[in-house]
């Protein structure tokens, strides 16, 4: 009971259990069977399932995505991994033109049950090409599903659900979540795709967060509670299809929306959520929605710059207070703790 597992271990366990349950599941990706095992998420699988089902691959992301797709067409359930989302971009053709379309364009005759794991980097100088958060790109494409778990519990259940799903699912992990532990049941379970989770209930404002930003939102909500502000935090969990009803239900109660996202605000998931809420629930809205996401420029490498790139809990709390007309603007939460902000916790020693 109350077994604690890190997010990365939960990913590993979901993969392990899915492979045990279903012979057609296999995992392939650069470094999958190597000694580091994709940040620990694939460790031990090679020993248990053998080199046929746990495979390294050539540095051919585009073709290998096609290979995964082709194998899925005839009944396999591939999981293909990218250690950074940025590398998956060379496979956009296979994901967008092919994987997303084969079911529709062949009139339902083809099915593409595959999972594409991608990891978002942050900090320690990940820089412009190792830190991109492009969930909106994939969410824009009908035929793809996009999942972004926040907790270890959901990482396990959502990955299991993604593997069971008969469609291409883009499964996005934030690198800063990998080491965070949570209560994770030992038995196999799924968390349904398309369902958000209310992390804490509140009545003054709804804060919708994705992935790591859901945790920042939760921290902001705790701070706001001390200030007498009741914030409801929703962990979106699935980006496409996203859980419109859970968000609208919350908005009907609070009348205020803040959306936090790990990606850029412009043309992003936060924009889609804000637009949908305004279109569908305008009558309940008491103040203009606020998006808290990345600024409109690439991520720099130097910690002196990147420390100022990512919005954090203090910024979320500040925006909520402004929205509610609170005069206090002290940003105590984000006050410099005297060390760099480019690591998730002091135990993180780089380089990835």
């Amino acid at each position: 009971m109350n077994r604690q597992l890190k997010f990365s271990e939960a990913i590993r366990e979901a993969t392990d259990q899915a492979m045990e349950r279903d012979q057609s599941v296999y995992i392939i990706g650069l470094g999958v069977p190597d000694p580091k095992g994709i940040f620990g998420t694939t460790l031990g699988l090679l020993e248990k399932y053998g080199a046929e089902r746990v495979q390294d691959m050539p540095l051919s992301e585009n073709a290998m995505t096609g290979v995964a797709l082709g194998s899925a067409l005839v009944g396999m359930r591939p999981i293909i991994t990218h250690q950074r989302m940025d590398f998956a971009l060379v496979a956009m053709e296979q994901m967008v033109n092919q994987a997303a379309k084969w079911h529709y364009m062949f009139g339902g005759k083809a099915k593409v049950p595959m999972v594409v794991r991608m990891i978002i980097g942050r900090g320690w100088g990940q820089g412009p090409q190792h830190s991109q958060s492009l969930q909106a790109w994939f969410a824009h494409i009908p035929g793809l599903k996009v999942v972004m778990p926040t907790t270890a519990h959901d990482a396990k259940g959502l990955l299991a659900a993604a593997i069971e799903d008969n469609n291409p699912v883009i499964f996005i992990e934030h690198r800063w979540l990998h080491n965070i532990a949570d209560e994770v049941p030992e038995e196999y379970y799924t968390v349904p795709l398309g369902k958000a989770r209310v992390m804490c209930e509140g009545s003054d404002v709804t804060i919708v967060g994705t992935s790591y930003m859901a945790l920042e939102s939760l921290q902001a909500a705790e701070h706001l509670r001390e200030e007498g502000i009741s914030a409801e935090v929703i962990d979106l969990r699935t980006i496409r299809p996203w859980d419109v009803e859970t968000v609208l239900t919350s908005i009907r109660k609070t009348g205020r929306l803040v959306v936090t996202d790990t990606a850029g605000a412009a043309f992003g998931v936060s924009a889609e959520i804000a637009a949908t809420v305004l279109e569908r629930e305008f009558a309940s809205i008491k103040s203009a929605p606020v998006r808290i996401a990345l600024p409109d420029h690439p991520c720099p490498t130097s910690p002196a710059l990147s420390d100022h790139y990512y919005p954090r809990a203090g910024r979320i709390a500040l925006e909520v207070k402004k929205m509610l007309g609170h005069k206090t603007v002290a940003e105590s939460l984000d006050a410099s703790p005297g060390h760099r902000l480019d690591v998730p916790d002091p135990s993180f020693k780089g380089p990835f």
């Binding site: 096609g66 082709g70 364009m105």
Partner: protein, 326 residues
């Protein structure tokens, strides 16, 4: 195992090749009615490569293709009526009207699908072969591509992977010298580049006359047998020529990218006419037998077009369905 190339099989191959010719000619003939409202890429002139290659496969083997796929679909046993209905955008089409000419599919016949993004189905086919290998199935995959597709990264990546894993696949390149209007010499260097790429990856590769039906069948049979018996993948480059424009029903030798003289020299090498002469010379068939087959096929094709025309449009509720599989 592929059959011996006896008289019976040769006549069957001829019929298959002729059927593709008659279907493609019919599409060209009816296209002007503006009822086939999708791009069509006709393979008139290339039928020997298509019929000969697919005849080397078993029914349970798989084929994937690109934009010019009618011949591959038919030669693999794809349903003609469903293909015509698909081109006409009808509910009875093989993809329910969602795909059109560029997205033919017939799973039962082993034609897994075609897609017009040049090069894209090459790795997908490799993945199908990869699955067959992982599951230890007696199954060979053949993927059709053109000379242009051998310039894509997907081709190199797929050839590398297929060779690395010794996949049961045949990469069948129909080299017709033109990518739309762009000739080989603005795209590739050297006459043996395509087979050299394969050989550089440690793969069996051959270049051959794509208009020689018997030769195509023999070469493909060897490659298919090799793949089936664990001998690994092959690249086969079949030299051929498309008679009509890249996309559409017309001849376009007058617009300046190739010459009428070049076209006529290839028309002299018409694979259908050449094979008819051969069958007569070898005593396999008489002219009147072939004429009879031709008129039977014409009736079949006319009936398929009538079926397509009479078929209903797709129901509007299919517009937004099948985005996701259950």
């Amino acid at each position: 195992m592929p059959q011996q190339l006896d008289s019976q099989l040769r006549f069957k191959l001829y019929k298959e090749m002729l059927r593709i010719r008659i279907v493609e000619n019919a599409i060209a003939e009816y296209y002007g009615e503006q009822e086939m409202r999708c791009p069509v890429h006709l393979s008139i002139g290339q039928e020997a490569a298509e019929a000969g290659a697919c005849a080397a496969l078993e029914k349970w083997d798989y084929v994937l293709s690109g934009h010019r796929s009618h011949g591959h679909y038919l030669a693999k046993g794809g349903n003609l009526k469903a293909m015509m209905a698909e081109i006409y955008g009808k509910a009875t089409g093989c993809a329910g009207g969602k795909g059109g000419s560029m997205h033919l599919v017939d799973i039962e016949a082993g034609f897994l699908g075609a897609a017009p993004i040049v090069g894209s189905t090459i790795p997908i086919a490799a993945g199908v072969a990869f699955a067959a290998q992982m599951r230890n199935e007696d199954r060979v995959v053949m993927v059709f591509l053109g000379d242009g597709a051998t310039e894509t990264g997907a081709f190199y990546e797929s050839v590398n992977f297929a060779s690395l894993k010794n996949l049961p696949i045949v990469f069948l390149v129909e080299n017709n010298f033109y990518s739309v209007y762009s000739p080989m010499n603005v795209r590739q260097k050297g006459d043996n580049r395509i087979v050299d790429i394969a050989r550089a990856h440690g793969m069996e590769a051959h270049q051959a006359d794509g208009n020689d039906l018997d030769g195509v069948y023999r070469l493909c049979s060897q490659a298919v047998t090799r793949a089936r018996t664990g001998g690994g993948p092959s690249v086969l480059e079949l030299i051929t020529y498309r008679w009509r424009e890249h996309c559409g029903p017309a001849y376009d030798n007058d617009i300046g990218y190739r010459t009428e003289a070049e076209f006529l020299s290839w028309k002299e090498r018409d694979p259908v006419a050449a094979y008819e002469r051969k069958l007569i010379d070898d005593g396999v068939a008489a002219q009147h037998e072939m004429d009879l087959i031709g008129s039977d096929l014409k009736q079949e094709v006319d009936a398929a077009i009538a079926y397509a025309k009479q078929s209903p449009w797709p129901n509007l509720d299919t517009l937004s369905s099948q985005v996701y599989a259950n």
